[in-house]
Symmetry: C2
Subunit: 250 residues, 2 copies
């Protein structure tokens, strides 16, 4: 399983992804699920971030193909590093995903029950454009985050959704949003063993066109340990403070 | 969807079930998901409670068959109202479920993608036996709650699981357990529209052999409204009190 979240806020964008990959409980490994595509300056200046859920072979294949297209392109060919808008990037991404999944599925062994699909959250900013965030489906189509729903989750999303729903609005400060993401990961990891540390975090402030923060939350991270403990204690305190049901007399 | 929870505590047993049934978002209705089988006195004295998730037609069919067996039985035939132990009740329940599901599936239209299965939580107490709680699978087999895991959930269980995990132990007082169940339903209903009020609640105190509480939590229930509001405010307060990540400077 996987848990990734991405938010599009007034202050900029936030991406966070866990790094546990498992094929059965006896085959667990660490793979980063975050990829960054950067052009640091020039007319095509941009920073694009992708986080993924789903079949590991397929997601690695998609990322490899996107990178190969940038390396092998002729001057006229369009790819993720020179497409003129984030909308075009999302379309390109979706097409590569769709054709990769179709190719893998065509060549699968018959009767295989393996799910070869994947889903990506892709966001970022291209020079002279506002930041935009997309959720790209295995079919290649996509939806965009808006002020009504400024965030997307993929993978094991249920346990970590309530806190984000309660806290995150487009005007939420980045530090608050990061805090909510950490609580959200804590809730998820408490309940699903297949989501695990380290967590890759990336912040893309509006109009900076490069990461303001790239950070890996490991088991030794004092802040994350602190949050986990304080959140659990706080929940229990709030719960203790709630009244008992008046319709039950013990 | 559905959300039901049952707990087996030192003080007794607690059952709670929502009552929303839906076949698509445009076809929503209210059906209680709780059934009670009682023998108020005599050598077979007992109180057995079942809550269900899954296909409504199948669950109603199972309950009808269990009741019909009690009405039509000869003096020697065993049924839910005279079986000697809760283990036998769980086995009987499982057999009726399994044969009902098999019968419905045999007679289904080919190519139908409807899921005809169901799952039950069945618990209660029979005179001269301790209370026991079982989770019965569509295959007819079952597991029993223990002091390590004193509760079961069925249906949309993820949103409401964390609070129960944090709070409920076998020694938890019934009023605390009821409170945790109400918070658990609140979390679930906040995030899944297909789980809805009213909530049927039943408490079976140890050795009473009859319900100590049968209560229906409706939209007008002042306690539930109060809990929902106070829990949301409390969560936001705890969140506000958590420190900002020290590895991010805004």
């Amino acid at each position: 399983m996987t848990y990734c979240v991405a938010m599009s806020l007034h202050e900029g964008m936030l991406f966070a992804s866990d790094s546990r990959t498992n094929a059965g409980v006896d085959n667990v490994a660490t793979f980063s699920k975050m990829s960054v595509f950067e052009v640091p300056d020039g007319p095509h200046q941009r920073c694009i971030v992708a986080v993924n859920a789903g079949n590991l072979a397929t997601t690695q294949n998609v990322i490899s193909q996107l990178r190969r297209k940038t390396a092998q392109a002729t001057a006229e060919e369009k790819h993720i590093l020179n497409l003129p808008s984030m909308f075009d990037v999302a379309e390109h991404f979706g097409q590569v995903m769709k054709s990769t999944i179709a190719h893998v599925e065509e060549n699968q062994l018959s009767q295989s029950s393996v799910d070869f699909t994947c889903t990506f959250l892709v966001g970022g900013q291209i020079r002279d454009e506002p930041p935009r965030l997309f959720r790209i489906y295995p079919q290649g189509n996509f939806i965009e985050a808006t002020s009504d729903t400024p965030y997307f989750q993929i993978g094991e999303s249920k346990y970590g959704k309530p806190i984000i729903d309660r806290v995150v609005r487009p005007e939420t400060p980045m530090s608050e949003a990061l805090k909510s993401a950490m609580v959200s990961f804590d809730s998820t990891m408490q309940s699903n063993l297949s989501v695990g540390l380290p967590i890759d975090v990336l912040v893309l402030k509006r109009d900076y066109l490069k990461p303001s923060l790239r950070y890996r939350v490991t088991e030794d991270d004092a802040y994350f340990q602190n949050i986990r403990k304080a959140w659990g204690q706080g929940l229990r305190q709030v719960f203790q403070g709630l009244p008992q049901p008046d319709w039950f007399k013990s």
